[in-house]
């Protein structure tokens, strides 16, 4: 059964879908807040804690994100770093046909693990 919840901080929306094997966070709109971490970090931490006792993969899907400021990158990389050092499985998906997404997200490959537990994928 799928469990779904939306978090909105206009003009950014994060749709969280929990399935049997994954928790997917789909980002849409723009992330332009002065301190986006206040909105984003609790959502990411919640996803991390929900997967800590299961084998669910967190899927961060940025493909429909139109724009993000640099302050948005900070909470994302903090979570990726913690996942890399821990045991959580995380996949970040981006649209590589969008130049800005390709530049911004391909750089996050530094957080990938050799066993693909943490992976950054351009679609």
């Amino acid at each position: 059964m799928e469990n779904q919840k939306s978090y909105v901080n206009e003009p950014l929306r994060i749709n969280v879908k929990e399935k049997a094997d994954s928790i997917s966070l789909e980002w849409t709109g723009k992330s332009v807040d002065r301190d986006p971490g206040k909105f984003i970090t609790p959502i990411l931490v919640n996803a991390l804690s929900r997967t800590s006792h299961s084998n669910k993969r967190i899927v961060l899907d940025f493909q429909k994100l139109d724009y993000m400021n640099s302050s948005t990158i900070t909470p994302i990389v903090k979570i990726l770093d913690r996942a890399k050092r821990g045991s959580t499985r995380v996949t970040a998906l981006y649209d590589k046909s969008l130049r800005w997404q390709d530049l911004a997200f391909s750089a996050l490959e530094i957080f990938q693990t050799a066993d693909e537990r943490v992976e950054i994928k351009g679609m």
């Binding site: 332009v32 002065r34 301190d35 971490g37 206040k38 970090t41 931490v45 724009y67 400021n69 640099s70 302050s71 990158i73 900070t74 909470p75 990389v77 903090k78 990726l80 770093d81 130049r99 800005w100 530049l103 911004a104 750089a107 996050l108 530094i110 957080f111």
Partner: protein, 167 residues
């Protein structure tokens, strides 16, 4: 927000140091670059430059009733786009200026701005979750727009931060 000047190859925007002005700034930037025949990837990167520099200006400027504007000059010539963002400062801005100087010198120390960006990502990722300092804006400008950054302070205590990107 006021458009002070929008000549053929230049645009000057003057705005209140208010976060809600940023969306209008991005829209104006997109419109201006479109008029210059710049759309798509290049225009997106240049609008990001304007946006990041303006965010910093709003965050760190010292605004008073007499000096309460952020001024953005954007100029396109044959080969380059120059974005200059100005804001008032005072003695309380000293630490910011020191950080700004250090950051720009540090970025310039890298032949490839991608390497600087990656190093910064590693550093930022290790900070506490509740720390809201980003510190990625300038290095993102250098990396994604391949822009050369600089700054100076005018005699009238105005900070001018510039980014020059190749077309």
């Amino acid at each position: 927000m006021g458009v002070v000047q929008e000549m053929e190859r230049s645009m000057t925007l003057s705005l209140k140091p208010d976060w809600t002005e940023l969306e209008k700034v991005r829209d104006k930037g997109t419109e201006f670059f479109k008029c210059q025949g710049l759309e798509g990837e290049k225009a997106d990167a240049l609008v990001m430059v304007i946006s990041e520099l303006t965010e910093n200006s709003i965050k760190y400027g010292q605004f008073t009733p007499a000096g309460n504007r952020v001024v953005i000059d954007t100029h396109v010539d044959g080969r380059n786009v120059t974005v200059e963002v100005r804001n008032p400062i005072n003695e309380n801005t000293f630490n910011h200026l020191r950080r700004l100087d250090r950051m720009i010198q540090w970025i310039r120390g890298y032949q490839d701005s991608f390497e600087a960006y990656v190093e910064r990502l590693k550093e930022v990722s290790k900070r506490p979750l509740i720390d809201n300092e980003s510190g990625l804006g300038l290095v993102r400008v250098a990396y994604e727009a391949k822009a050369i950054l600089d700054f100076y302070v005018d005699d009238d205590d105005t900070l001018n931060v510039s980014a020059v990107a190749n077309l």
